[in-house]
Symmetry: C2
Subunit: 142 residues, 2 copies
């Protein structure tokens, strides 16, 4: 069954991606943040501004726990919350300047490790990789 073969590849591939990204982002998170807090901050970084509910949905955690963790993040000065003037129940969560600095540093480290990983690759291969990333993102991981 061809279907099954593709699924096998998918499973192996997902496992590999998890493994490698864990490896690459290992020890990147600031000492001041717990792993969960780092993940939340990473999510905020790429999706800002976000609401608490969006964080809650995407991170698959309950509102009370999300509220607590985001509160800690803003207490640590890495994100800010401003009430949405159109709907004063909602709040827009963004990185603060300190948060931007922190995440820039983190991404920098990750970038270095990523480049080490793909060092010595030809321009043609690079192109192929780029296309493969695009393809999969559109057709499978959308």
């Amino acid at each position: 069954m061809d279907n099954n073969q593709l699924f096998q590849k998918f499973v192996a591939f997902s496992a590999a991606v998890h493994q490698i990204t864990n490896d690459i982002t290992k020890d990147v998170k600031s000492e001041a943040l717990t792993p969960l807090q780092y993940k939340i901050l990473e999510y905020i970084a790429v999706s800002q501004p976000v609401t608490l509910s969006e964080v809650s949905d995407c991170m698959q955690m309950s509102m009370p726990n999300t509220s607590r963790e985001v509160k800690k993040l803003s207490e640590k000065g890495v994100c800010t919350r401003i009430t949405d003037p159109d709907d004063r129940r909602k709040q827009g969560i963004k990185l603060s300047a300190a948060g931007e600095a922190l995440m820039n540093e983190a991404f920098q480290q990750i970038a270095v490790r990523f480049e080490q990983r793909i060092a010595g690759i030809t321009a043609a291969e690079r192109k192929e990789i780029e296309q493969a990333l695009d393809l999969l993102q559109h057709k499978v991981f959308y």
Copy 2:
């Protein structure tokens, strides 16, 4: 800088893979297992037989904690440990019959969701996806 663009894609892609696989495997884990225990069991399933040290390395957890969690898994009857006759310090960890059954069921559920996700794709597209998975796994996530 082209380098940076590729890195951006890599980050976005990794995030998407995490998100989608979390979504797909959500609620799949047996009620009897904690998330960590499920991940360990998944690792054992695809790499068996493994030693404790291998689990410890791959899951990036300390030996004491690994020992504890694997002990719980065998107490729950989902894996077995047999002492390596060639080196009696080591032990080969495998899924038990119950563990196999549990993981089969889990993979079944994941497979269903995966197929829903790629439903309505042409044979040519399927081929492309397969090739992209292979390419990335060999050149980036190895």
